[in-house]
């Protein structure tokens, strides 16, 4: 195997680069707001109900949202570092996803009790927490539940805080067995597996709220510009990822075709299979594709959009590459166009970017099935959020699980018959 120049220090290099992006977010926050505005904004972010869609750019300010995101990423990195985990694809995708969603729905407070719940689960099972760290990070999809109980319910102080912590611990305790069970539902063809699991839990919890006559109401608060400065920050992140490949290793681009030849189905860790240099390069490339799409349709860059971008970028180390994301994105775009939807609306933007949860279908079964998966996702996703009343931040993962579970058995069944003939 070809020896790469950075191989001797790969683990530390990964940490260095991940900390670099977290600190970049924190430092860039001061380009938008003063320290006191950021501090006051953080207080608003922590106390504001987070049911889908609450954009921290709008309810607080851009600086606070960026600061919150960088802080959450550093906190997760510290958890990973403390356990001496080598941050490969699953960990990197989780950190970027949670970092992105820290601009709409997650904050330094509401993610903690869920992560603690998963930690307690690992202790009950007498296992190392490192086995559950990725689940713990993704489980924060349900952090709006914690904030809703703490700040959006009618409970009096201090019972609201106590029940908020208890609800987070409860989510953390039930998520590991459910996540590893539900992954079999779609057999790894939807990358946001915990989005599906959290959707099921959110559906049960929202039903309980409703039957006790406390129905949850989805919110919609989205920043609408201007977005010139924030675009520059995003481009710096994306372009630097591409440049890191040139800095840390050789110009052996013929090996990139190995990466884009993979289906991307869970578990395809590009970091361990193709090296961190190609993984980070690919993260930049998929980020650039999404960013160019947003430029073409002239969409506003705001908290939810960055969450979607960061999620795609993160999964650029764990299953997504240009060959498998483009067909599903195109399928979703075509379906939205045919049905007359506004491509620049926040719902459409998120649908197209998050449709890449189904990238493994295009990766394994080809472009046509990728188009079909993207189209089906676009039609299904808007019909599901009411089931969990916005409690699950990964609503597209919820939809993706259903689409994959519906399509894959049909595709493979006809493929097998064709092979048998």
């Amino acid at each position: 195997m070809q020896k790469l120049l950075y191989k001797d220090n790969e683990k530390y290099l990964k940490y260095l680069i991940l900390f670099f992006y977290s600190i970049l977010l924190i430092l860039s926050s001061f380009l938008f707001n003063s320290p006191s505005e950021i501090f006051n904004g953080l207080k608003v972010i922590i106390a504001h109900p987070d049911l889908l869609i609450v954009d921290y750019f709008e309810v607080a300010n851009i600086g606070s949202a960026l600061f919150n995101s960088g802080l959450v990423m550093i906190m997760l990195l510290a958890i990973v570092l403390f356990q001496n985990i080598d941050p490969n694809g699953p960990v990197i995708s989780a950190i970027f996803t949670v970092g992105g969603f820290s601009m709409f729905g997650k904050n330094i407070i509401n993610v903690l009790s869920i992560i603690l719940g998963v930690y307690i689960y690992s202790k009950i099972k007498k296992e190392k927490f490192s086995k559950y760290t990725v689940i713990a990070f993704f489980s924060t999809a349900l952090s709006p539940l914690v904030t809703h109980v703490g700040f959006g319910s009618e409970l009096l102080v201090p019972f609201n805080y106590i029940f908020a912590i208890v609800s987070g611990l409860f989510v953390g305790l039930i998520m590991p067995p459910l996540a590893s069970s539900f992954v079999r539902f779609h057999d790894g063809y939807s990358l946001y597996n915990i989005g599906f699991t959290a959707g099921i839990i959110g559906m049960v919890v929202a039903s309980l709220f409703k039957i006790f006559d406390r129905p949850l109401e989805s919110l919609s608060t989205v920043y609408e510009g201007p977005d010139g400065k924030i675009k520059i920050i995003i481009y710096i992140i994306i372009i630097s990822m591409i440049l890191f490949k040139f800095i840390i290793s050789r110009l052996d681009f013929h090996r990139y075709k190995n990466l884009i030849g993979r289906s991307g189905r869970l578990v395809t860790d590009f970091v361990s299979l193709d090296g961190f240099d190609f993984a980070i390069f690919n993260m930049g490339i998929v980020g650039l594709i999404c960013m160019l799409y947003l430029e073409i349709i002239d969409a506003t860059i705001n908290g939810p959009t960055i969450a979607a971008l960061f999620t795609v970028i993160g999964f650029g180390s764990f299953g997504k590459h240009p060959r498998n994301i483009l067909p599903v994105m195109l399928g979703a775009i075509l379906m939205l166009k045919i049905t007359g939807s506004d491509l620049t609306s926040i719902g459409s933007v998120l649908t197209v970017l998050f449709s890449t949860t189904l990238a493994p279908i295009a990766g394994e079964f080809g472009v046509l099935f990728g188009l079909l998966a993207g189209g089906l996702h676009a039609s299904l996703v808007s019909n599901l959020s009411y089931l969990h009343a916005g409690l699950n931040l990964y609503n597209n993962g919820f939809s993706g699980g259903f689409v994959a579970a519906f399509l894959v058995p049909i595709i493979t069944s006809f493929r097998k018959e064709k092979a048998d003939e």
Binding site: T133, S180, V267, L273
Partner: protein, 112 residues
């Protein structure tokens, strides 16, 4: 049946897939458990297996085990649709491959 036994059965299923996908119709399996580990050894006649497949398999079986993926994704091992060698390699501690006179022997060990 405990979880470690379930995981060993899924590892065995994944390895059986390899034989069946390469035209073998008679696989001998030896599955052994003790207090600290599980071991599965498979043997069968496999004709015309490509050298690159053997190399890929050998590399997969000797990739270091990883804790961070197994708890979340172990259910995907032995799936109906396609192979999960990438996952298998993260879940076993040791692996051996021998291909001699058309007989493929695979042996993997997973410590509990």
């Amino acid at each position: 049946m405990n979880k470690n036994e379930l995981i060993m059965i899924k590892i065995m299923n994944e390895l059986v897939h390899i034989y069946l996908n390469h035209g073998c119709n008679n696989v001998n399996i030896n599955l052994v458990f003790d207090e600290n580990k599980g071991m599965v050894e498979l043997q069968g006649a496999v004709k015309n297996i490509d050298e690159s497949v053997l190399n890929k398999l050998k590399m997969s079986l000797n990739t270091p085990r990883r804790d961070d993926t197994e708890e979340y994704y172990w259910g995907l091992l032995g799936s109906d649709y396609s192979s999960q060698l990438n996952l298998l390699d993260a879940m076993v501690d040791e692996g051996q491959l021998n291909y001699d006179n058309g007989i493929l022997t695979l042996k993997v060990i997973r410590r509990f």
